[in-house]
């Protein structure tokens, strides 16, 4: 065992992994590996070892195919005594044909392995994409009466809204939920940051939740804030799955909370409420803020009564909107707000639908290219077996029995390829889950029987169609011609046209994929080239979630000492905080504090939405954001009236024409009046690909509400070795129970903001490369075959004195013509497909000439390279050899 294994031995053992399942074969596999090990150990020379191992590997594909055919019951493992019973029915015909086909394929292991691999590759990728699409887009949500569940969109809601919704006709159930970060203090170990969802008992009814231990929330719990229902994973991880947990207490934000139950393992929290909560608690209705019409905190979910349509339900909601607006005119001065009620499933998938469909489309194109290559293989095989088929035809075998046999071969290839594809898909999905590509319902994705059936169906249909056409061709060949030898010109010319068509098709499809990948790649590059208006190098960010914040003063009084503690860390040159950090939230809208105000010089204009960023002193120095005009406020001037603010360049231009013109101007309509103290360079807060927003940096000293978030930024001149430790000690010197869950570099946050683009361009790039290789292989094979067919003619031409260069040019010209036709068709297709892509593009249009030209050049160069080797071989034809061979 101590001996190091030969690399070829490892390859052999990996290949053995593809044997069919079963204890017998597992045993044999072990013995096979041992036997080869013995053989290698006994070989006297290195060359001998390679020879022995290579022989074992070369014979392996044939054995693998034979074993799988046996395992599927298509061929017997041995030729036993004949049973003497040969039925004439359809079924026995099919079985007999499958048996023939199995034996025929076994005799051509290279062909069989290549076709199976191609089908498996195509089908595996399509199945992976389809599984994801099926789970995310098509499948019903795992909740009772899921088709009646709906979500109130357009922001979060408050007490007055909820009170009015509860009595509306046409609904079964209403629930509201809101997520909070809280801290669990543990006697042993660091404090833990947890996610708590506050909700109503109806939440559990609506989502079909069952308790694993204890009970869930009930109506009687309405005002009891001292209880919690744990999620199953939290119970398992933090409490070791303690079966006696019900009735014990845990300390949350310094308060003891009684655990009354644990949810069942299969409960899946709807993703519209964000990440899965650690525990659930009743809503705190005593909070006066909740009754405030301007306080938006709750996501609202409903279950429609049976038979009520969304349209009817929405009419009811319109009435609620109107009554809220009427009751609180001071909050709704421009009339009622629109809160469309949307199906829950729709809400959960709308963001990813187009991306997934793009993926499915790209994968479908790849399948087409793989299919075209399988068709090539069958065509080539059909040609080489023309003689055999003609003999059978001359022997009066019925046409359909011959078609039957050939299509049985393609059926078999499809079946085996389908199985391989299913295995590939399973592997790909494990990869998907491992890399947690963010999908709303992504965690539970797995290949199931339904998808497996689709997968094998696609494979079989694919191979059947790819194989049948060449089969009909081969059978249709003239008997005379076939018996005369494979040199008959008319038949191969027609087949040649079919193969040429396939090549043109492959090149065209590959071009679409390569060009799409190019467009996405250029979008990614133009996004990352954007200047965020921030010097991210050497800046580290620390998001904190202080709890039990009682007032804005309390918030500031607790955060400022932490800032001072950070400033005393050696190497820190600047530190500041705000209620959010740049790039902490990506995409805008769901995160931010925004107000509307008209520019002061156009009081009649529609108010413009501006984003408010309450930040502490030192913010601009920390993030390296330059001030184009004016100076920032200081702690001394922060509380002056009107409030001094710094606005972004985009806003200065929109409101006042230029940065210089903005300084010292007032905006009376904004937060009771502010004055512009300075103008910051254009910054991006919510993603590099977002518009420059109209940002207003207001002093944290004027923050009007309490909040449980603070994101600190630290600029270092010299990053200490124990960065995280130093930061944690600084926080805990002021707030010993505050968890420090993340210390990230700002550069990483900025990178993450374009991660989806990077992933998309890499994925399509990979597909593009595979398609390119397949097209090149198809072209290469076709030309090589054509050269083989024309050896005689080439030999004669060479003998008559034609130059080798001329003959090589002829072959290359053929490749180039194919490539040109394919590139032409591909360009047209891309011009059309590029428009579909435009939603994902940034800084480049779907019909971008440069990208298209680049992709065409890549395809063309590949095609010429693929033509060169067959051309070289044509030029090396030995006239004497070929003429003698006749």
């Amino acid at each position: 065992m101590g001996r190091r294994r030969h690399p070829l031995e490892v390859a052999f053992e990996l290949g053995l992994g593809a044997l069919p399942p079963g204890p017998l074969r597992r045993d044999d596999r072990r013995e096979m590996a041992r036997t080869l090990r013995d053989q290698i150990a006994a070989a006297p020379t290195a060359a001998g070892r390679v020879r022995v191992a290579w022989r074992a590997i070369r014979r392996l594909p044939g054995v693998l195919i034979a074993e799988w055919l046996d395992w599927l019951g298509i061929t017997g493992p041995y030729r036993g005594p004949s049973t003497g019973r040969e039925g004439d029915g359809m079924l026995s015909n099919l079985l007999r044909n499958l048996g023939f086909a199995g034996r025929a394929l076994r005799k051509a292991p290279t062909f069989t392995a290549a076709s199976i691999l191609l089908v498996a590759l195509g089908v595996g990728t399509v199945t992976t994409a389809f599984t994801v699409v099926d789970h995310v887009l098509l499948r019903a949500l795992p909740y009772p009466a899921q088709e009646r569940l709906a979500y109130l969109t357009n922001g979060s809601h408050n007490g007055p809204t909820l009170d009015r919704l509860d009595g509306v006709a046409g609904f079964d159930l209403w629930t509201a939920a809101t997520g909070h970060s809280v801290n669990l203090t543990r006697p042993d170990g660091d404090p833990l940051r947890l996610r708590r969802i506050e909700t109503t008992p109806a939440f559990f009814t609506m989502f079909g939740a069952r308790p694993h231990l204890g009970r869930l929330l009930v109506d009687a719990d309405r005002d009891d804030l001292g209880i919690a229902v744990l999620s199953w994973p939290f119970w398992r991880d933090a409490f070791g799955g303690d079966p006696e947990i019900v009735g014990t207490t845990m300390v949350i934000d310094g308060e003891p909370i009684e655990i009354v139950g644990v949810l069942a393992e299969d409960f899946v929290q709807p993703s519209v409420l964000g990440d899965g909560a650690h525990f659930y608690r009743p809503i705190d209705w005593s909070n006066p803020g909740l009754q405030e019409p301007g306080y938006h905190a709750h996501s609202v979910l409903a279950r429609l009564a049976p038979g009520v349509s969304l349209e009817v339900a929405n009419e009811q909601i319109d009435r609620v909107e109107a009554s809220v607006a009427e009751a609180f005119p001071e909050y709704y001065d421009d009339g009622p707000q629109d809160w469309p009620l949307v199906g829950l499933h729709e809400v959960m998938v709308q963001d990813v639908r187009s991306g997934l469909l793009l993926l499915l489309g790209a994968v479908g194109l790849l399948l087409l290219v793989a299919c075209a290559n399988v068709a090539h293989l069958f065509l080539a095989r059909g040609l080489s077996r023309g003689g055999e088929m003609s003999i059978r035809r001359a022997m009066r075998a019925r046409t359909w029995s011959r078609v039957g046999q050939l299509s049985a071969e393609s059926l078999l290839v499809g079946l085996l390829g389908g199985l391989g594809g299913a295995a590939l898909a399973q592997g790909a999905l494990v990869f998907f889950r491992r890399w947690t590509v963010e999908l709303p319902r992504g965690l539970d994705v797995a290949v199931d029987l339904r998808v497996l059936a689709v997968c094998i169906g696609v494979a079989t249909a694919t191979a059947f169609v790819c194989g049948l056409l060449p089969a009909l061709r081969a059978v249709g060949r003239d008997v005379q011609e076939g018996l005369r030898g494979a040199r008959g010109m008319t038949g191969s010319r027609r087949l040649g046209a079919l193969r040429s068509g396939l090549i043109v098709f492959e090149v065209a499809i590959s071009l679409v994929l390569v060009a799409s990948a190019g467009l996405l790649m250029r979008s990614f590059l133009s996004v990352t080239a954007i200047d965020p208006g921030i010097e991210a190098e050497d800046v580290w960010v620390v998001p904190l979630n202080p709890t039990n914040v009682s007032s804005p003063e309390d918030y500031r009084n607790r955060m400022e000492p932490i800032r001072q503690a950070f400033l005393s860390i050696p190497g820190v040159t600047e530190a500041s905080y705000g209620i959010e950090g740049p790039f902490e939230w990506v995409g805008g809208d769901r995160c931010c504090w925004s107000n509307r105000a008209p520019p002061p010089d156009e009081p009649e204009a529609t108010p413009i939405r501006v984003f408010l960023h309450p930040v502490s002193e030192g913010f601009f120095a920390t993030y390296g954001t330059e001030l184009l005009a004016g100076t920032p406020w200081t702690r001394a001037t922060a509380t002056a009236s009107p409030t001094p603010v710094v606005i972004s360049e985009a806003m200065a231009i929109r409101f006042f024409g230029s940065a210089e013109a903005a300084v010292d101007r007032e905006i009376p309509e904004l937060r009771g009046g502010v004055v512009v103290a300075g103008v910051a360079e254009a910054t991006k807060h919510y993603g590099l690909d977002q518009e420059h927003d109209y940002g207003v940096y207001i002093p944290i000293e004027t923050l009007p509400f309490e909040i449980d978030r603070a994101t600190f930024g630290l600029r270092f001149s010299d990053v200490p070795a124990d960065l995280a430790g130093a930061i944690r000690r600084a926080v805990w010197s002021e707030e010993p129970n505050l968890p420090v869950t993340e210390v990230a570099s700002l550069e990483a946050w900025i990178d993450d903001s374009s991660a989806t683009r990077r992933f998309g361009s890499l994925l399509l790039g990979a597909f593009g490369i595979v398609a390119l290789l397949l097209a090149a292989a198809g072209l290469y094979g076709t030309l090589l075959y054509a050269v083989g067919q024309r050896r005689q003619e080439l030999g004669i031409r060479l003998a008559l004195g034609a130059g080798r260069g001329r003959i090589q040019n002829d072959v290359i010209r053929r490749g180039v013509v194919h490539a040109l036709l394919g590139v032409g068709a591909g360009v047209l297709l891309t011009l059309w497909a590029g428009r579909l892509l435009e939603a994902w593009l940034f800084g480049v249009t779907g019909t971008d000439a440069l990208t298209l030209a680049g992709a065409a050049a890549v395809l063309f160069a590949t095609a010429v390279a693929a033509s060169w080797l067959p051309a070289y071989r044509a030029g090396r034809t030995d006239p004497l050899e070929t003429l003698k061979a006749e």
Partner: protein, 110 residues
Amino acid sequence: MDVHEYLPLAPRDLLILAALAEGPSHGYGLIKAVEERSESGVLLDPANLYRVLRRMRELGWIVEADGEDASRRRVHRITDRGRALLSAELGRLERLLDQARPALADGRPA
């Protein structure tokens, strides 16, 4: 069982049975024995060998010997049925040779 249904044997099968008739052997031993006998005319590779051995086991020509050898490799042994088959095939070949040999015998030293 009528052994004649399985005749003639493939050269590979014949050589494997012949090697096992001399005594039980594991996979590598069989490959070596067959290659020596055939002077490299028949080459076996591990993957095919175990496929053939499984078929022979299922047909009852050979069985796995009890226990394993010192290096824990599985050892195969020929059965009575396998022996009967081997001798039937050898008999058939001998008769065939007897009938064919006179063609070359006259006028030449045997």
